[in-house]
């Protein structure tokens, strides 16, 4: 029997698989495809203090082995999420991780505080890496001091463990990871999307109305694996790894690189059953490569 379970700060996971923020809405749609209780956890779409409509459409475009998106943090606002989305999800036997975003430090703090009002959320994912909004978002994620600052502020007001979601659009992701660790982060989540652009030749315009968007999907997996590996060698808090995961082999690759759990984003669009299928496949894959548990595989890449 392969043991998929593991414990992370605030989370008792039956397996290390969770849908990534923004790629699973608030779960409704995918609950039609399979029982969400099967998931290790569910990471919600970003919450901001008030409702946001997001960017103009088109908001997505396909690229070679990937896609660009510029949704722009559309969401119904944190109180609406707490009152109308979280209760639906709490019927499932899984962990709920709320992704929080903001334009200002104060907004992050406000949103984090709001989640104290429900006991149905198990952890926060602090999104300091959204490349698709004009203010805030990625600004907080590209400077170690600002990243530490917002982490500290959120930790101070929140009762929940905080996983800081790092941006790959940086020169030195290690220094940012260390800064947020020092500021009290309970874990890291990485990577968010990489800023990209594509131009439609007939119209000469960007294929995304927002001009730039965030690149996700298999195209970025090598970059994600490299960053997870580098960061895991330099911090002592657990990492939720993500970026281009499509199957259980990819999950094992992230575990070997140093992730403790993983999130699956873009792949849900191609195959709505993908998280469920990965959970079914993972024991076989772990066994095939000589592991008897998820725990055992974490950080076991041989880098000599």
């Amino acid at each position: 029997m392969i043991n998929l379970s593991l414990k992370l700060p605030g989370l008792s996971l039956k397996n290390p698989i969770m849908p990534a923020s923004g790629c699973f809405g608030f779960g409704h749609e995918y609950s039609d495809f399979y029982n969400l209780s099967k998931l290790g956890a569910i990471i919600l779409k970003a919450a901001t203090s008030r409702e946001r409509f997001g960017n103009p459409t088109p908001r997505v475009a396909e690229t070679a082995s990937g896609m660009l998106n510029a949704i722009g943090l559309q969401n119904p606002g944190v109180m609406n999420i707490i009152n109308h989305e979280v209760p639906f999800l709490s019927q499932f036997d899984t962990n709920i991780i709320a992704n929080i975003a903001g334009s200002t430090l104060e907004e992050y703090v406000e949103v984090a505080k709001s989640f104290n009002e429900t006991d149905q959320v198990h952890a926060l994912e602090l999104n300091i890496s959204c490349p698709n909004v004009k203010e805030g978002g990625i600004q907080f994620g590209t400077d170690p001091n600002m990243a530490a600052h917002v982490t500290e502020a959120v930790k101070k007001v929140s009762q929940l463990p905080v996983y800081v979601k790092l941006s790959p659009n940086v020169t030195d992701i290690i220094s940012i990871a260390k800064a947020v660790e020092a500021a009290g982060a309970d874990g890291l989540s990485m990577i968010n999307t990489i800023t990209g652009m594509q131009i439609h030749l007939p119209s000469r315009k960007p294929l995304i109305a927002n001009k730039t968007g965030g690149l996700s999907g298999p195209a970025i997996k090598p970059i994600a694996i490299r960053m997870v590996y580098e960061v895991s060698q330099n911090v002592n808090i657990p990492i939720i790894g993500m970026g281009g995961i499509q199957n259980a082999e990819d999950v094992l690759e992230f575990l070997l690189a140093g992730a403790s759990a993983v999130a699956v984003g873009t792949a849900n669009f191609q195959n709505p059953f993908v998280c469920s299928e990965i959970i079914d496949e993972l024991p076989k894959v772990l066994e095939k490569y000589g592991f008897s548990s998820v725990q055992e595989a974490i950080g076991k890449g041989i880098m000599a």
Binding site: T57, V60, Q270, P272
Partner: protein
């Protein structure tokens, strides 16, 4: 209930310039698919599925027809599939045209280019219910025209081409006055066409089917939103649409 199903391709043929008709064999989806709903098709290994309307469906035989224009990488690759091959399909997606609890005696279908396909299944369904169907179909030019015979079997059909190389010359809005009386219209086509149409037919009840680039196709990713006319709301085209009452959405 949305299904993910492998469908066998029964036939592939070119029916007009760069326009393909593909007949698929479905186990599950065909049983429940309604006019106006669409399929989300996995083409090769492409990251995103491609949304294509259901152009015809026979729930008894499980045969679903799609009609598509070769447009870019995905539709190009799709057109190279051959009969006998399998396609991975998610569907039926979206809400179709309203069919229940309606009491028209005559409906007008207005399609532009590759907006024509969903109207065929819709027209056939109306026809079966004994409702009179009139169709206006607009195309760029003569060699783009398709399904004229099929629509003609449903009722009066007017073909319009931009350059006049076939049928009437002009836009679909130019021939509206030729239509005697109708109770409600159903339209699908490029946004400028839909805008012109709804502006002109403000006094009529109408339903329009919209397109937007999609991620998930099921309502989870917020890629395909559309502002509503009430000013502060939005709808998801993939889940709340693609069909909307003409008055409710801002084009």
């Amino acid at each position: 209930m949305i299904n993910k199903e492998k469908m066998k391709i029964l036939s592939v043929r070119s029916i007009a310039h760069q326009t393909i008709e593909m007949v698929l064999e479905s186990e599950q989806i065909s049983k429940v698919a309604l006019p106006g709903q669409f399929l989300h098709i996995q083409v090769g290994n492409l990251t995103l599925r491609r949304p294509i309307s259901i152009a015809n469906n026979c729930s008894e035989t499980g045969r679903i027809t799609i009609l598509f224009k070769v447009n870019g990488q995905g539709t190009n690759e799709l057109s190279s599939y051959q009969s006998g091959e399998m396609l991975d399909i998610l569907g039926p997606l979206g809400n179709g045209f309203p069919l229940e609890s309606r009491s028209e005696s005559t409906v007008l279908l207005i399609g532009g280019g590759i907006g024509v396909p969903p109207l065929y299944y819709l027209g056939k369904t109306f026809r079966c219910k004994g409702i009179k169907v009139i169709s206006i179909l607009g195309f760029q030019q003569a060699n783009d025209v398709f399904y004229e015979d099929q629509f003609s079997e449903l009722g009066e059909t007017i073909i319009v081409t931009n350059d006049g190389s076939y049928g009437f010359k002009g836009l679909v809005t130019d021939v509206l006055e030729r239509i005697s009386a109708f109770d409600c219209y159903y339209a699908c086509g490029p946004k400028p066409m839909l805008k012109a149409l709804t502006d002109k037919l403000t006094d009529k009840e109408g339903f329009i089917s919209l397109e937007e680039r999609m991620g998930c196709g099921v309502g989870a990713c917020f890629a395909c939103v559309l502002p509503t006319t009430d000013g502060n709301g939005y709808k998801k085209i993939c889940k709340d649409g693609p069909v909307f009452p003409a008055r409710e959405v801002k084009l």
